[in-house]
């Protein structure tokens, strides 16, 4: 379903993604793990047509995301790391807008909106403005929205960030249910290792833009001689903390970039 070969993305002299290759099979739940700033989000942006690679190739359901952007966009749903709902609109209106943007016919749109909002337990609140929703409700709505047009692939970029254990647990149960029910391929990132171990069939770990290991959770533990995925992860990526926010000079550079056209 997803095929990545020798993918590279550089910003100036920084290699955000450095020659990665991986395959995700249809119907699979695939976890893409790595410390902050390792290149996860950059990779997802390239997979979802938002960013063009410096070199290398990507196939989404056999199509190139740059050359066939529109066709590729129809095939996936995405839940971004940061919320992307219109807060002023209601849950139902956000769904409606998404359905029209994706060219889903009126009848199907309404039927699927009802079905998905019920599954994610938001149907009773469908006419409330999103700004009144809790963090967990917003996340669930985003996932429901991402699935409205029956995509073949669902990208989830840290969907459980900041949610309590109950909500996280329920959310993954629902995602697993949809993966079973609609055979949607799921490509997810998370910092919660036990989540990845629980839901994902296969896992890849990226660090400094390179894939340092991939396989099932059991394989990764075996490779590193550890007995939990968390330990395996730490062994592979080290224990030092990654600086995402740089020095003040970096921040000045970021400001300058804003005036040049804000590419990042």
């Amino acid at each position: 379903m997803i095929r990545i070969r020798n993918l590279v993305k550089t910003y100036g002299d920084v290699k955000a993604v450095d020659d990665i290759s991986l395959d995700v099979q249809a119907g699979e739940i695939f976890a893409f793990l790595g410390p902050n700033g390792a290149g996860k989000t950059t990779t997802i942006k390239m997979l979802t047509t938002l960013l063009s690679p410096t070199s290398g190739s990507i196939e989404i359901d056999g199509l190139d995301p740059i050359a066939r952007a529109t066709d590729v966009r129809r095939r996936f749903g995405i839940v971004f790391q940061d919320p992307s709902l219109d807060q002023e609109l209601t849950a139902a209106e956000n769904m409606e807008l998404h359905g029209v943007l994706y060219g889903v016919g009126r009848a199907v749109r309404h039927e699927r909106t009802e079905q998905l909002l019920k599954l994610f337990e938001l149907w009773d609140r469908r006419n409330a403005p999103v700004k009144d929703f809790s963090g967990g409700m917003k996340r669930r709505l985003e996932i429901a929205r991402g699935l409205l047009h029956t995509p073949k692939i669902l990208f989830l970029d840290e969907p459980t960030l900041g949610l309590d254990p109950q909500t996280r647990n329920q959310l993954w149960t629902q995602v697993k249910y949809l993966n079973d029910e609609e055979r949607v391929t799921v490509f997810l990132t998370t910092h919660y290792m036990e989540e990845a171990e629980r839901v994902a069939q296969r896992i890849a770990i990226i660090d400094h833009g390179k894939i340092v290991a991939q396989g099932t959770a059991a394989e990764l533990k075996q490779q590193t001689g550890t007995d939990s995925l968390e330990q395996a992860f730490l062994k592979l990526t080290g224990t030092s903390i990654r600086a995402e926010q740089g020095t003040s000079a970096d921040q000045m550079r970021a400001m300058a970039a804003m005036f040049r056209g804000g590419r990042r």
Binding site: L85, E93, Y102, M258, G262
Partner: protein, 248 residues
């Protein structure tokens, strides 16, 4: 077509739901109208220029449309900051369609806002002439609205956060308003000011609006219409070009 409609509708819903913004944005035009209108009224009359409210009202209406339109365009930065922009950018829809839907929606609310201010002007004593004049005025309001929403969108496409907003207001929008002939007649100005007024696109908007509503003309309605139409097309094209280049 559906997509344009649904994005247009979104802008309208957002507009009608933020009552605070509607009321808040009426404050400034009202202040200009009452303080300048009544304050400079006697001087204006003594200078033999007639009723100042009659002269000022089209300028204040143009100002309202200008500010709302620019703001609606720049609202794109909010969408970028609060994430909704990404939802539209990954949708299987050409960016041009998204830009058109947004711009039409923003322009519609700017015109609505202008109509509300026109009504207030009439309460204060402004008397526009006839139905034909009103329809002409509406046409100019639409042109001002579309042009400046497109300009706002173009600017917002290259700024990635709020920091630049103040700069745009102080160095572009405010001068454009104050030097457009919205507040004073453009006749007999110093050369430099006259030149600036001629390159200020809003001058033609104010003049067209004033010509339609009151019959007072500086450039002539034909010139106004021609300049505004060409500029609107140019800004729409520039705006959609910059919009389609946004990367997040």
């Amino acid at each position: 077509m559906n997509v344009v409609y649904v994005l247009w509708l979104r802008q309208l819903k957002r507009y009608f739901r933020s009552r605070a913004r509607i009321v808040g944005s009426l404050g400034q035009p009202l202040l200009f109208l009452v303080s300048l209108g009544f304050g400079f009224g006697p001087v204006f009359r003594q200078a033999g220029q007639g009723n100042y409210i009659q002269f000022l009202a089209p300028g204040v209406i143009a100002m309202t449309v200008l500010f709302s339109a620019i703001f609606n365009g720049i609202e794109l930065i909010w969408d970028r900051q609060f994430g909704f922009l990404k939802e539209t950018l990954v949708a299987p829809v050409p960016r041009l369609t998204i830009m058109i839907g947004r711009t039409l929606g923003g322009a519609t609310t700017a015109v609505l806002q202008g109509l509300v201010v026109a009504l207030i002007c009439m309460l204060v004593g402004f008397r526009p002439g006839g139905v034909a004049g009103f329809l002409g005025g509406l046409l100019f309001m639409v042109l001002i609205a579309v042009m400046f929403t497109a300009l706002g969108t173009a600017i917002a496409s290259v700024l990635s956060d709020f920091q630049g907003f103040q700069m745009v207001m102080n160095f572009l929008v405010m001068p454009m308003f104050f030097l457009s002939g919205a507040l004073f007649p453009l006749t007999g100005l110093p050369r430099a000011l006259d030149l600036i007024a001629r390159v200020d696109p809003l001058s033609y908007g104010v003049d067209g609006l004033r010509t339609s509503l009151t019959g007072l003309s500086h450039f002539g309605a034909g010139t106004d219409l021609a300049v505004l139409s060409v500029l609107t097309v140019v800004l729409l094209l520039t705006g959609s070009r910059l919009f389609s280049k946004i990367q997040i």
